[in-house]
């Protein structure tokens, strides 16, 4: 669909050929494409596993044979094709949005979804500055990870099922970011949770994997209860769930800093802590690493887990109106960042390190949006999507190589344990270089991650002027940065440097991944290096493009909360501090790890002292299990079921006491001899008499 040029943007964009732009009302395509991919791949997954029951057997058999032969190719083309197409559409929508004469949100109403009296919710998608940015990240990074998966999952028997789930995930993720109301967003919100569940438990025959999937879904649902209660409160207050109406009318309807707005935002944040793995609901994310590694990269690092940050940014004005809530959001964020980083210090599973690192980085994002620096939070969300996807895919290449090598020599060693790696740089030069780029970015060297993290910390420092607790947040943030640099350097050193611990027989089989896997890594590497440019600060020669682009979204929030960036000397001191922390962490992490003798996992001694506590993740899982899960199951089984239902209700009221039992037995026997009618008659008459007496003559 072509557009007429209008507005002041026209001149600047005249150079863009018109066939390159799309009107926002084509946004449904971005959801429809992956959804179609899901249906096709899903059909193939089912067809491949057995006969098609709805067709005559002969035809069904021929189809099955054909599908088996070409399935792999079809799945690859469809699975990745729809994503690339959705990415292209997203780009064209992005360009098209510049051509609109107004830059306000465009809402595409598809159909009326749940209309009941005053309650009206449309199935509608919203295109605005924030959703466009998310759209590009999800389809862009998503495409790269789909491509990587072609290589990574090539030999898996569930190839079609894998791509079906992955496509479905993208469709739900886009509904999440494009939904124009809380409720449509909630479809995506729970939908991505479902896909996460299915993909974590993808190799479901291992009980640990399906346990992990279930845990993820359940913990997320605890958060969803918060999301739902927040929706009830919002609707009761303003009678709508549409973002545009709510964000316009709620500020006028409730007092700033009042109990209601604080409650609404806290319940929303409870939802966010579930999806984005923050304290106290972070426990599902480390277990989620049971899924295939590209899934960890896509869902559990780059996209889904950032949904909570997106939610807070989307409803930024509400959080800005509730200073208590925003302070708690920032606090929970930074404490989670620190807590998770400390656990990452002593993990040996390469994916677990990255998982805790993700929780930690998400904490930074919450520190950002809680501080009121919404653009900075989104900025970190984007750069994190680049470098964390790169780290996970890099780890995927490593695991791929390790797995193959161990497979060749029929070894059952752990392919993910860094104690079994070491010296991989010789076999995997590309991966080594690319992962170092990502590691430097996350550690806080002046690549993309540095700018976004630095901005969050600077804003937090700035807000300390009004609320001194933010100075503490800043300090915790810097300490976390130090730890981040340390555990990343440790990860790199253990994996790629030092002596090989893979085992002499397996070592020759280590190799670089095929180009279909390394290619996306290279692209992500470029994005990791240059991604910071989208919001380059003034001192580095930029002009905060992302921040001004998101201004239509964040402007209302800034009326209530506007943290200032420090200027002049303070600014440079803060930058210097951040860089120092990063450098110290990197050097210390690398030197200490390389200098140490690392024993392969098989022979590794038991952890001791505080290291043991860290290795066991502060025993939080065990604590939850002992305090919540087990008591609840025991309570349900012993008290509610065997106690209340069986002993009290059935026992006392139905047939427990000897008299009633006998009575029941008698009725039972009469019943079979056809005397029941008599009892029923007696019963009716008796009841009639009693009720008559009660009523007392009416």
């Amino acid at each position: 669909m072509l557009l007429t040029l209008a507005g002041p943007a026209a001149q600047a964009l005249e150079a863009v050929p018109r066939w390159l732009v799309l009107h926002p009302h084509w946004v449904w395509l971005t959801v429809a494409l992956p959804l179609a991919g899901f249906l096709i791949n899903g059909k193939l997954a089912i067809a491949a596993s057995g006969p098609v029951p709805l067709l005559p057997p002969k035809l069904a058999q021929r189809i099955t044979e054909m599908v088996r032969r070409y399935q792999h190719g079809i799945v690859t083309v469809v699975g990745t094709g729809v994503l690339l197409a959705a990415f292209v559409v997203s780009l064209m929508l992005f360009l098209g949005f510049q051509f609109l004469d107004t830059q306000s949100a465009y809402v595409l109403r598809l159909w009326s979804w749940i209309p009941v009296g005053r309650f009206q919710v449309d199935m509608a998608l919203q295109v605005d500055q924030l959703s466009l940015v998310m759209l590009l990240v999800v389809t862009g990074v998503g495409s790269l990870i789909h491509l990587f998966s072609v290589g990574y999952m090539r030999e898996d028997p569930g190839y079609a099922r894998y791509f079906a789930y992955l496509n479905l995930f993208i469709a739900f993720m886009l509904v999440l970011v494009l939904g124009s109301s809380f409720l449509v967003m909630f479809i995506g919100w729970e939908g991505v949770g479902l896909c996460s569940y299915l993909l974590i438990g993808f190799w479901f025959e291992d009980k640990a994997n399906s346990d992990a999937g279930k845990k993820a879904f359940l913990v997320n649902r605890i958060g969803d209860v918060g999301f739902m209660i927040a929706m009830f409160m919002i609707w009761t207050t303003v009678g709508s769930l549409d973002f545009s109406t709510v964000l316009r009318e709620l500020p006028a309807a409730v007092p700033v800093g009042g109990a209601l707005i604080t409650a609404i935002t806290m319940f929303l944040f409870l939802g966010a802590t579930g999806k984005s793995a923050q304290i106290p609901l972070y426990v599902w994310l480390p277990d989620a690493m049971a899924g295939p590694t590209p899934v960890s990269a896509l869902i559990h690092a780059a996209t889904m887990v950032t949904a909570g940050v997106y939610l807070v940014a989307r409803t930024g004005v509400l959080f800005a109106m509730a200073p208590i809530s925003s302070t708690i959001v920032a606090g929970v964020g930074v404490v989670t960042a620190l807590f998770a980083a400390s656990m990452a210090l002593r993990q040996y599973d390469i994916k677990k390190v990255l998982a805790y690192s993700t929780i930690s980085q998400l904490g930074y994002m919450f520190l950002g949006v809680g501080t009121g620096a919404f653009a900075a939070g989104i900025f970190h969300l984007i750069t994190h999507a680049f470098f964390k996807a790169l780290l996970f895919l890099g780890a995927g290449s490593v695991i791929h190589a390790m797995h193959h090598a161990y497979h060749e020599v029929h070894s059952s060693e752990d392919a993910q344990d860094m104690r079994n790696m070491g010296g991989l740089r010789k076999a995997m030069p590309w991966t080594t270089v690319l992962m170092w780029i990502a590691a430097l970015a996350i550690a806080g060297m002046p690549l993309s991650g540095f700018f976004s993290k630095d901005e969050i910390l600077a804003y937090a420092f700035g807000r300390g002027h009004d609320n001194p607790v933010f100075y503490l947040y800043y300090v915790l943030g810097i300490v976390t940065a130090l730890m981040t640099a340390f555990y990343m350097a440790r990860l790199m050193a253990m994996t790629f440097h030092g002596k090989s611990r893979t085992g002499a027989d397996a070592e020759p089989y280590l190799h670089e991944a095929p180009w279909i896997m390394t290619g996306p890594l290279v692209v992500l590497g470029i994005l990791t290096v240059f991604g910071g440019m989208i919001n380059l600060p003034t001192w580095a020669g930029g002009h905060h493009w992302l921040q001004s682009w998101l201004l239509p979204i964040t402007a209302t929030a800034e009326m209530y909360l506007r943290p200032e960036l420090p200027h002049g000397t303070t600014e440079y001191v803060l930058i210097g501090l951040a860089l120092t922390a990063a450098l110290v962490g990197l050097v210390a992490g690398y030197r200490l790890t390389v200098g140490q003798t690392i024993v392969p996992a098989r022979d590794a001694p038991e952890e001791r002292g505080f290291w043991k506590v860290l290795y066991h993740k502060y025993y939080v899982d065990e604590l939850y299990d002992a305090v919540i899960v087990r008591p609840l199951i025991l309570f349900s089984q012993r008290f509610l079921w065997k106690g209340v239902d069986t002993r009290v209700v059935d026992g006392v009221f139905v047939n427990g006491s000897a008299g009633i039992s006998r009575f029941l037995g008698q009725i039972g026997s009469r019943f079979q001899t056809g005397q029941l009618g008599f009892y029923v008659l007696l019963f009716v008459l008796g009841a009639l008499w009693i009720l008559r007496a009660m009523v007392g003559g009416g």
Binding site: P53, F119, E205, F232
Partner: protein, 521 residues
């Protein structure tokens, strides 16, 4: 379509046809060879379903009144008439009943091997009874159909049920009989008392509704009798323990009909009779508090006990207790959103739980077990079954975009304003629902495939007949989840009417000592 139907005079004959055709179908079943019984039952129930579909178009969504109404004398001397009609509340209950029946027949195809004629005859009798309950507008007629259903269900469980069927049937019979006989007594006394004051003996619903405000101090007792009968049927905690036993012992189709239709007779009874007839009692603060508490307790209790069941069918039965708690909460919150939500919960639960029982039955036919301990890893050997189980389970736990969500969400949304704490607690039910259902799914289709009996299932995935049983239900779940508007639109007027009725009326009531007092406004 509407014009075509009115040219056929559809509105005049549809209800008699729905009541009589199933019963008429019994005769050929009894005459034909036993092997043909299921075919005849399938044809008859399919015809009834197809004919009933016309209601969808012939129903006027803008009207909150009873449509397709008719009155014929039955026992006019006693004021008993054949009075029927359909409004937005009963419309979907009727459609749910007629839709489930062909599926129930198809689902029993190979499961029922003894006394087939009797079995299918009873199923058809039940069809008439179910439709009758939902269309009757005469309290005697209603009671007649209400009891009529009990008998086929009793035999279906008692004759074709599992090993522990005798205990289950007696429990089922005593529980429901206990409640419904009290209801009969209340009906009779109410009519008698109204006749006393007005001089007219009538079981007419509209007439009694008009004069229900004059019952005075007896109203709470009448309400209690009605409420007990309906609460047992729903079932509400603490009257729910008959359900797990009845469900577990019933043959597949029995469980399906029990869950999909029979339980709804309870909530329907509240919506049609107990609340509108006695709003001053039902909506008084203590009674509201009692029912909302029981509803919320039911939601949580049902879900928690479901979680620890070792038997798949018992789990689904307890999940029904939990789901019906949502419906009760919606009814007692009495806002347009919550009441329509309650109706959507009833429909959604009918689809999802019906499908769950079908699927469990299909599994039972293959493995002759319903114990979680006997399953595991089935997704590897019977993927189509696993897919359908997953979709159904997700619809059941209220995943947005599937049928369960719309009802649950509307109930909670509509209840929150007046009952925030109860709603808050009820909302946590979604976590427990996910807990029991996902754990159940995991223990059936995921985890290692170790047992040889399970490995032997390879190649024995759902066949065409089974797919045809479950697929329509799955289609319904997706449709109602994504585009419930046509359904919501048709029930809105009736739900609004219910909400208006449930506001206690300003009437002059006679107290027991004869003095006049002003009732609650």
């Amino acid at each position: 379509m509407t014009d075509f139907l009115s040219s056929l005079g559809y509105a005049q004959w549809i209800i008699p046809v729905l009541l009589l055709v199933p019963v008429a179908g019994i005769l050929p079943i009894l005459l034909a060879p036993a092997a043909q019984a299921k075919r005849i039952a399938l044809v008859v129930s399919t015809v009834v379903f197809v004919v009933s579909l016309g209601l969808w178009w012939a129903f006027d969504a803008t009207s909150g009144n009873f449509q397709f109404a008719a009155t014929l004398p039955w026992m006019p001397f006693w004021g008993i008439y054949y009075r029927v009609g359909i409004d937005g509340i009963s419309l979907f209950m009727v459609l749910l009943s007629t839709a489930m029946m062909p599926l129930a027949v198809l689902g029993s195809w190979h499961y029922i091997t003894k006394a087939e004629r009797g079995y299918y005859a009873l199923l058809l009798a039940m069809t008439s009874g179910m439709v009758g309950v939902f269309v009757a507008l005469d309290l005697f007629l209603f009671y007649f159909f209400w009891e009529l259903i009990l008998i086929p269900m009793y035999f279906i469980i008692g004759v074709w049920g599992g090993p522990n069927r005798l205990y289950a049937t007696i429990k089922f019979f005593l529980y429901t009989m206990f409640g419904s006989l009290l209801m009969l007594v209340a009906i009779l006394l109410m009519v008698w008392q109204t006749a006393h004051t007005t001089g007219i003996v009538s079981f007419d619903y509209a007439f009694l509704l008009e004069h229900a405000g004059e019952l005075g101090s007896a109203a709470p007792w009448y309400f209690a009798a009605f409420a007990l009968a309906f609460a047992i049927k729903v079932p509400m905690v603490p009257f729910h323990t008959w359900l797990p036993d009845a469900h577990t012992e019933a043959p597949t189709a029995g469980s399906v009909l029990l869950a999909a239709v029979l339980l709804k007779m309870g909530t329907y009874g509240f919506l049609r009779f107990a609340v509108p007839l006695f709003p001053d009692v039902a909506m008084s603060p203590p009674v509201t508090a009692l029912f909302i508490s029981l509803a919320v307790i039911g939601i949580i209790h049902g879900a928690l006990v479901a979680m620890v069941q070792p038997d798949v069918k018992r789990l689904v039965a307890y999940s029904s207790v939990s789901h019906m708690g949502f419906a009760m909460l919606g009814i007692w919150a009495a806002t347009v959103q919550s009441v329509q939500g309650a109706l959507m919960v009833m429909i959604g639960h009918g689809l999802a739980t019906g499908a769950l029982f079908f699927l469990v039955g299909m599994l039972y036919e293959r493995r002759h077990s319903r114990m979680f301990a006997d399953f595991g890893g089935l997704a590897r050997v019977i993927p189509l079954f696993s897919l359908m189980l997953t979709i159904t389970a997700l619809a059941s736990i209220g995943l947005p975009g599937l049928s369960g969500f719309v009802g649950e969400f509307l109930v909670l949304l509509g209840s929150f304003e007046n009952h925030p704490w109860a709603t808050g607690i009820a909302t946590t039910g979604v976590v427990f629902a996910a807990a029991y259902m996902l754990w159940a799914v995991q223990r059936i289709i995921y985890n290692p495939l170790v047992q040889p009996e399970n490995k032997a299932l390879a190649g024995h995935d759902l066949n065409l007949r089974e797919v045809l049983v479950v697929l329509p239900l799955i289609f319904g779940m997706i449709w109602l989840g994504l585009y419930p508007k046509p359904v919501l639109r048709r029930m809105e007027a009736a739900a609004t009417r219910f909400v208006e009725f449930s506001i206690p009326r300003a009437v002059t009531v006679q107290t027991a000592d004869g003095s006049e007092t002003e009732g609650a406004k």
